[in-house]
Symmetry: C2
Subunit: 80 residues, 2 copies
């Protein structure tokens, strides 16, 4: 089993940050829409949080996309 | 924001169960491969657990698929 878990959290965070910036939303505005705290968004974007499927789905929904599409974008990010 | 969170857990659980059965694995065998407890697999399959992205990715990897593909299958399940 490939140990790609940590990488996925990092990549999901980068994807979230990219989509949020494309939507022209600050962390604070986005957090408000998601009904979660701004600092929590920051930690997700840095890949520090082991977020739940529920929370991942919530941010995807607020961004107007599906969770599968968002995770596909994350999986497509090349390792550095 | 559409309240589809609970539905997603249920649909993810059904998808997991379908893929596990297609792979001809018992819950016990699958749990062993994932290095988690059998009862935990059961609760994920019933949509009772709010699992993490990490755990969802782990079960997808063990099933030989990507998490995005697995979630796409879950999203495609029609509401009953």
């Amino acid at each position: 089993m490939k140990n790609n878990t940590h990488h996925l959290a990092i990549k999901f965070g980068k994807t979230l940050r990219n989509l949020r910036l494309q939507a022209n939303l600050s962390q604070e505005e986005f957090a408000h829409l998601c009904k979660i705290h701004r600092t929590y968004i920051g930690s997700i974007e840095r890949g520090e949080k082991n977020i739940t499927l529920e929370m991942a789905n919530r941010v995807a929904t607020v961004l107007g996309t599906s969770l599968s599409a968002m995770i596909a974008l994350a999986e497509d990010i090349h390792d550095e």
